[in-house]
């Protein structure tokens, strides 16, 4: 094989691609050892192939790393979402359990107690006058205090409002009451004894005569004591 022949048949490329049959491979090998130009071309091509292999390999590794990284980010995101969902589920489960086992049965028991026939402390409140305040003693097991008020006969309204005011720090109670069923009858207010703590209270009675008319009718002052 001479140089022209080698160049014409693209011997360098065929040799590196493994396309030369055995006899031509042998002939080209003899030639490139002797021909400086073909030898140099073959070396340059071999250097190119070796470096291209290295570059392509690095690119493949980087591509895999990028895909893995992205995949890892996605996996982290999914795992975080799963963890949050699990935490929410556990919280809901705990809340449901508390409601079913503790709160609702407790409420049912309370409702049953309230709904059952029971006694209460009935008190007829006197309008505030000079002198000692009316004392109401509430026993420990008393659940309700019934306060009855006499309505001044000259002041009859369609409905009434009561404001119960205590000492500073005590949350007041405001209640609207319908007029007594029997004209001249008392107004009755049932208050849970748990609303009271020992101290002085004033119940203010208002007549309601429209949204803008709410005249004060009477005041009833009393002292709560527990026993």
């Amino acid at each position: 094989m001479d140089h022209q022949e080698a160049a014409k048949m693209q011997a360098v490329e065929r040799y590196l691609l493994g396309e030369l049959p055995a006899d031509q491979r042998e002939a080209f090998e003899e030639h490139f050892f002797e021909c400086p130009e073909c030898g140099e071309d073959l070396i340059t091509a071999a250097i190119f192939v070796a470096n291209a292999r290295a570059v392509l390999k690095e690119e493949t590794h980087q591509s895999v790393s990028r895909r893995t990284g992205a995949s890892n980010k996605w996996v982290t995101h999914v795992r975080r979402a799963q963890a949050i969902a699990l935490a929410v589920t556990v919280l809901l489960l705990a809340l449901s359990t508390y409601l079913l086992v503790v709160a609702i049965p407790g409420l049912k028991r309370e409702l049953a107690r309230v709904s059952a026939p029971q006694s209460y402390l009935a008190v007829f409140l006197r309008a505030a006058t000079r002198g000692e305040d009316q004392v109401i003693e509430i026993a420990k097991d008393t659940r309700f205090v019934g306060l009855s008020l006499d309505v001044p006969p000259e002041r009859v309204y369609g409905s009434y409002e009561c404001e119960l005011v205590g000492e500073p720090g005590w949350t007041g109670i405001a209640v609207r009451l319908a007029a007594p069923a029997r004209p001249g009858g008392p107004l009755d207010l049932l208050v849970p004894s748990s609303s009271f703590r020992p101290g002085r209270y004033t119940l203010i009675l208002y007549g309601v005569n429209g949204p803008a008319s709410r005249p004060e009718l009477n005041r009833y002052t009393f002292v709560i004591q527990t026993k």
Partner: protein
């Protein structure tokens, strides 16, 4: 430089430039030739060393090399003789030993051909290839797939594959020359063969 009397004289005299050229040029050619002989890559370093030793010994001996222009052929003949001796010894001993994996061995051998400057130039060349041409080089040289399969998958023929490689290595040679102000080791000489 050309393989002529002057070259041989300077090689025998120990001229550093010629010695360096001789070992690099023929060292690469021996590497390429042995890589084309499966199972022989593991002896590249030993064969190179022994080949150079015997060639230089012969050149410096009385009589030396009669036809300086046949230096390349002589180097090849000595290389093949040394390789044959290694093969015979192996067969005689029956000791194949642990033959390194071909791919790993090839990568070790190719290390001497690879450096960062060359990789940088190759990256630029690869970047300008079409996706098909780039895939072709990757499938042939990195994945080592059968050439026919590569052509079938990419819808190209063998001629196109050769053209891809030819253009790429030509561009590589140009860029290498430009980056170093290198005009090559050989001056063009009229070919009389």
């Amino acid at each position: 430089m050309h393989f002529d009397q002057e070259y041989v004289r300077r090689l025998i005299a120990g001229d550093r430039e010629v010695e360096n050229h001789f070992t690099v040029h023929f060292g690469h050619l021996i590497l390429i030739a042995l890589r084309n002989r499966p199972g022989c890559e593991r002896w590249v370093d030993d064969v190179r060393q022994e080949t150079f030793r015997r060639v230089l010994s012969k050149l410096r001996s009385a009589g030396g090399l009669h036809h300086a222009e046949r230096l390349g052929a002589f180097v090849r003949r000595v290389c093949l003789n040394v390789l044959a001796e290694y093969l015979r010894e192996e067969q005689r001993d029956g000791s194949t030993g642990n033959v390194p994996d071909t791919i790993d061995n090839r990568e070790d051998l190719e290390e001497e051909l690879i450096n960062s400057e060359r990789k940088r130039l190759v990256e630029k060349i690869l970047a300008k290839l079409t996706p098909i041409d780039r895939d072709a080089l990757r499938m042939v040289f990195l994945e080592e797939r059968d050439r026919s399969e590569v052509c079938r998958i990419l819808g190209i023929d063998r001629e196109h594959l050769r053209v891809i490689l030819h253009r790429a290595r030509s561009r590589f040679k140009e860029r290498l020359a430009r980056s170093r102000g290198w005009t090559g080791l050989f001056q063009k000489k009229s070919r009389d063969r």
